[in-house]
Subunit: 704 residues, 2 copies
């Protein structure tokens, strides 16, 4: 606006023709506009999408594939991949008026919003685009098998079942997926959904598995690439089934024309299908390197927050950069709230939002293909959430409470972004040090420029403790450790009362450049909570031993200077404390992971003659179990004489449901702080901790 | 799936009724489905949105408000708020078939996609919901003013103009915005656009400004809240005009019912409207605190990447958490590519994507109201991008090249998120240290737990240099500096050849917890590039002086131990170097900001008898000008004998347009590395640097 001075560059000037047609800025238009010449001829809309309907593939014949009933148990507790799954999806669409088909028979004319895309059996040639002849033959022969043979194949397969209609259903399912895609690609529908079963994404080129016979989505994608080489050059497959789509991944693992993105539970490879192929670091190979993205939830329980986060942080930027011509959703609904196999909590509204986001890619060329999902109500409602958006409805509001993604999920997304940043420029510079092999840089001994920061920090602690409090080194003779690992007040061997502080490298608070990953030393501080305890103990003239346990560098266990706190505490006891003649009272203070050494010592040596208490500050570090090797009563003793302060969000407290959960005694007396973060917990509980020490030392008479 | 063992929780069991209606899993459906009972009666769609059209408000009478023509200059270079603006928007919609109105007269029946929402004059009572009676009276009297008075008011106002139709146009513009909202709220249209002028968002309750007479969007929002208290309880206004909507912000600054989010150029408050009210830290007051969000671009030039980033990182999560009942877009198109006032580069496709995203809020209840935008082609194309999405088209693909948001824009978004994280739980724990007053923590002298990390790092350097190379301290007597600021090889006073290295605190590469902002010491390393140079110089048996210049802590200039490199270098020269009897050749090496001291010294003392060269590694740190105080020829000398290595992305290289830009000689010989990052540049240019030193020392004969 900057109105009073003229714009720096001249404004566009209207041409004569423009002035004639539009009037100039300073000629008021005639007040009787109807007398002006016609200047825009009646125009066919230059848009096509919103005028089309949404396609749907559904065919009752796909319900014929079913598990052969062998016991009453299977009747009352049916196999989860239940023929009613597709029926229930179709039914809820009718109930909500998205389709008009009163008999639910798969009518030809189904109203103004959706249009039937007829299902047909996939051709052999189409199936062979992905699967081997051998696999195809194996599935086809099930049509002729006797009951006993069918049961035998069912028994022998990896989570699949067969009856004599399985081959037909599988061909229809696969053909439905192909036809649904085709209708989109040929512009007959604006987008589409294939309500098909059996599902497909676990079927690998050579083998069926996970309820899947043919890899429907992969077969459809491969045939679109083949049949429409001009208009379909790149396909993005988003697989939001809660299981990894090993079959789809395998079909395109070395193919740069198909970007496969899967969100699934992984659990260190222990969740079905249970192989490392589902891990986040599987990014494709050969030409396909960088075109495979696994987003791996470490546990179940994820929901809207995590999925929205994954979409906005990863999938959408990646999709926009990939510029697919067609987007396929491998749409399992087993991450849906209510699915007892997936045990996650994605709501129908969230399925709608994810669909809405994907509609912004590939000019809306989107085809949804049903995969898993085993709670009949959940899959129906979820599919309705998707279909409403397909026909043009806005997604529903995400239900409250709107949570944050869990820290674990956020961390996973970070990891995925870091992993994919090699391939996608939208992730470059998102996470710093992109070009640096961090692990190599740190563990490299060749490059003399690099020092572990922990060494510098310990050196500084040493200089502070020696200059302020005259601490000296407590020699460590037999262990291969830095000499400054243990420090103590002078004359320690004669102390009557001793505080032993065992701590991790202190925290560093820092501002960090999100572009480069380099932290700014000028705005970084070391926050050494141990010092607060040392100051307190110095005031009371106790003897003090300070033990520094650097954290292992990237599990590089052989890194010089790294040893376990267990080893050091045992060493301290065996070589020093048990020989100190005057020693009467010892308090152990653990800070961080290092506290494990205290728990270990107390279980492995009988220290009760002098040790009065053990107080630890864990924040979110894991609890350690006391293993009473000396005698049975040690457990009780430890519980009575310990305090273990944890963050209010420590995982031991579980979800909000069991907030008042009692932990077992073997962990000591574990307390939940009202806050989070080591420093906050220290501030909140410092007095409680020192009172407990004084109590255990029976020094109240002196101090109060 | 985990198929072979039964699911841990029992699957849902079908009720008898369900079994009857649906068949069971093990009863194959009849192959003649048409004989099954009708179970879903013909159903009216339970959806409303996609069946409705998009509303449009347009009325040619709003073209009557125009600047009175006072000179030929104004004819050929018309005022940017040009009556043709709304005409051109309407016209492009007709040209693309979104509306059918061959005469472009604002016909009543305009086809299947959009529907005319008649424009009316806003009522006094409606306007008074936002504006004062005084302001209303002032605008209304312009209807009666003589030409001279109109020109006088135009002259006197803040970027507004008046003619006798201004009041009518302003009332129509305001009424159009109201009617467009009303049609959405009453469910007559699915969403709407008000193609209106004069714009509104700069008009404050008491005063017109910035081409705006009445605050259209604010008036519409206030009246929706008043007239539909049940259905419209909360409104989100997204203002993507390139200027801050000071009027809209002011109208609801203390109102928690309206969330105002503006994206605009700010430029330290120098861009129109040019007040601090547009800054990111203006978050509302009273009940409205936390319901105002300014996203402030530091400069022009932003485009799709920055807007998409702002939407996905800030606006969408915030919008979902706010749960508005209605979303209004204050839709200026002056951030559009081609607008010479905005000088930004948002494409029509990006306007489509932003609209698409906002449609996922408030169940699609969205009303777009035109604000600024001054390139007639740009606003037409941008509006088409918006309207296509409104009627149900997918957004177009964002055009290549898809860039990253600029670092400055990303930083700004970080700042906005940090600022808003006080109010919005979606931003909590996004940026670490939320609960910590970082600045206080660092500069506090009370808390004995805190140490600047820089001190620890220097201490460690000292221990390394003294143990490996027998460095000693070079005493600093008069300056109040840490004793370890200057180190040197032993016998320095007798050196013939000397390398003086002046460096910032070295870099720390680190992994940092994005939740807490705490870095993990176990995965942090110090990367001390100076050491590479020291090793080289040690090999050649040169004397070495190592000078450490810690960065100022948060501009807390009095922090002990911080001094300028200028001061130290002058001190070094005046107290040491100029007295060294044997000294013949000196090379200065600067690393980071600290290099400024070298440039300063070379200009302020005549060191040419011994100094042979000055080589600096800046990465992205700012260039320093050599001020030749000694004599004029120093400038040339410096240029000839210096190398200044900068990052390929150093700001001195400007945009890609002037890539081969030559920098002025006063900066020395500035070179552009092929890479980015101090360590990368060091590796790339180390040999060039040392060759230059050898050259300047004329030591080639010895070494080659």
């Amino acid at each position: 606006m900057e109105s009073k001075k003229p714009a720096e560059e001249p404004l566009e000037r209207p041409s004569i023709k423009e002035i004639k047609n539009e009037g100039t800025a300073y000629t008021l238009p005639s007040k009787d506009e109807s007398q002006r010449p016609v200047i825009v001829p009646p125009t066919k809309p230059k848009i096509r999408y919103s005028l089309l309907k949404t396609g749907i593939c559904y065919d009752v014949r796909m319900r014929y594939h079913a598990k052969i009933f062998t016991s009453y148990f299977e009747y009352i507790d049916p196999h989860p991949e239940d023929p009613r799954r597709i029926y229930r999806v179709y039914k809820i669409l009718a109930e909500n008026g998205l389709i008009q088909d009163p008999t639910l028979s798969g009518a030809d004319s189904i109203g103004d919003l959706m249009v039937k895309v007829p299902v047909r059996e996939a051709e052999e040639e189409e199936i062979l685009q992905v699967h081997s002849r051998q696999h195809l033959d194996f599935i086809s022969q099930t049509e002729q098998l006797e009951r006993e043979s069918l049961l035998k194949e069912t028994e022998g397969g990896d989570s699949v079942y067969f009856n004599n209609d399985s081959y037909l259903s599988a061909k229809l399912s696969c053909g439905g997926a192909i036809e649904a895609c085709k209708a989109v690609v040929e512009g007959r529908v604006k987008n589409s959904i294939a309500v098909v079963r059996p599902p497909g994404h676990h079927a690998e080129p050579e083998i069926a598995g996970g309820f899947c016979l043919f890899s429907n989505v992969a077969v459809a994608a491969a045939n679109m690439l083949k049949s429409y080489p001009e208009s379909v050059r790149k396909i993005m497959i988003v697989d939001w089934d809660i299981h990894h789509g090993n079959g789809t991944q395998k079909a395109f693992y070395d193919d740069d024309r198909v970007l496969y993105v899967s969100l699934h539970r992984y659990q260190l490879g222990k969740y079905y299908p249970g192989t490392i192929h589902g891990n986040y670091d599987q990014t494709g190979e050969g030409k396909g390197e960088g075109f495979n993205c696994n987003i791996t939830w470490p546990t179940g329980g994820v929901g809207d927050a995590e999925y929205m986060w994954a979409f906005e942080q990863v999938i959408m930027p990646m999709g926009r950069e990939f510029e697919p011509d067609l987007v396929l959703i491998s749409s399992g609904f087993d991450a849906a709230d209510g699915d007892t196999i997936g045990q996650c909590h994605v709501t129908p509204a969230c399925y709608g939002h994810m669909t809405h986001m994907l509609l912004s890619l590939a000019k809306g060329n989107l085809c949804v293909v049903l995969e898993g999902g085993y709670n009949l109500d959940s899959i129906a409602k979820s599919a309705l959430g998707v279909c409403k958006v397909l026909v043009g409805e806005p997604p529903d509001e995400l239900p409250a409470p709107k949570k944050q993604p869990t820290p674990e999920a956020k961390k996973m997304i970070e990891t995925v972004i870091r992993t994919q940043s090699k391939y996608w420029s939208c992730f470059k510079n998102r996470h710093g040090n992109d070009g640096i092999n961090f692990k190599d840089a740190i563990t490299s001994t060749l490059d003399t420029r690099n020092f572990p920061l922990q060494n510098a920090i310990r050196e500084y602690q040493v200089s502070q403790l020696s200059s302020q409090f005259n601490f000296v080194q407590l020699p460590i003779l037999d262990l291969n450790l830095p000499a400054n690992t243990m420090l103590c007040t002078s004359g320690i061997q004669d102390s009557e009362t001793l505080v032993v502080i065992v701590h991790d490298t202190p925290e560093i608070w820092s501002e960090r450049d999100t572009q480069t990953g380099i932290i700014d030393p000028s705005s970084s501080i070391i926050v050494d909570n141990a010092l607060k305890m040392i100051n307190w103990a110095m005031d009371r003239r106790y003897g003090i031993i300070d033990i520094n346990i650097p954290q292992t560098l990237f599990e590089h266990a052989n890194y010089p200077g790294v040893a376990s706190s267990q080893e050091i505490l045992i060493y301290l006891w065996d070589n020093y404390l048990k020989f100190f003649q005057n020693l009467q009272k010892v308090a152990f203070i653990g800070i961080g992971d290092a506290y494990g050494g205290i728990v270990h010592l107390l279980g492995h040596r009988d220290t009760r003659s002098v040790v009065k208490c053990a107080i630890s500050f864990l924040d979110k570090k894991p609890l350690k179990v006391m293993v009473p090797l000396i005698d049975e009563t040690l457990g009780d003793w430890y519980f009575k004489n310990s305090l273990v302060f944890t963050s209010s969000t420590h995982s031991c407290w579980g979800s909000t449901a069991n907030e008042n959960k009692k932990l077992r005694k073997k962990y000591g007396r574990v307390l939940k702080a009202d806050c989070d973060g080591m420093t906050n917990i220290f501030d909140e509980r410092f007095e409680e901790a020192t009172d407990f020490i004084l109590d255990s030392f029976e020094e109240w008479s002196e101090s109060e």
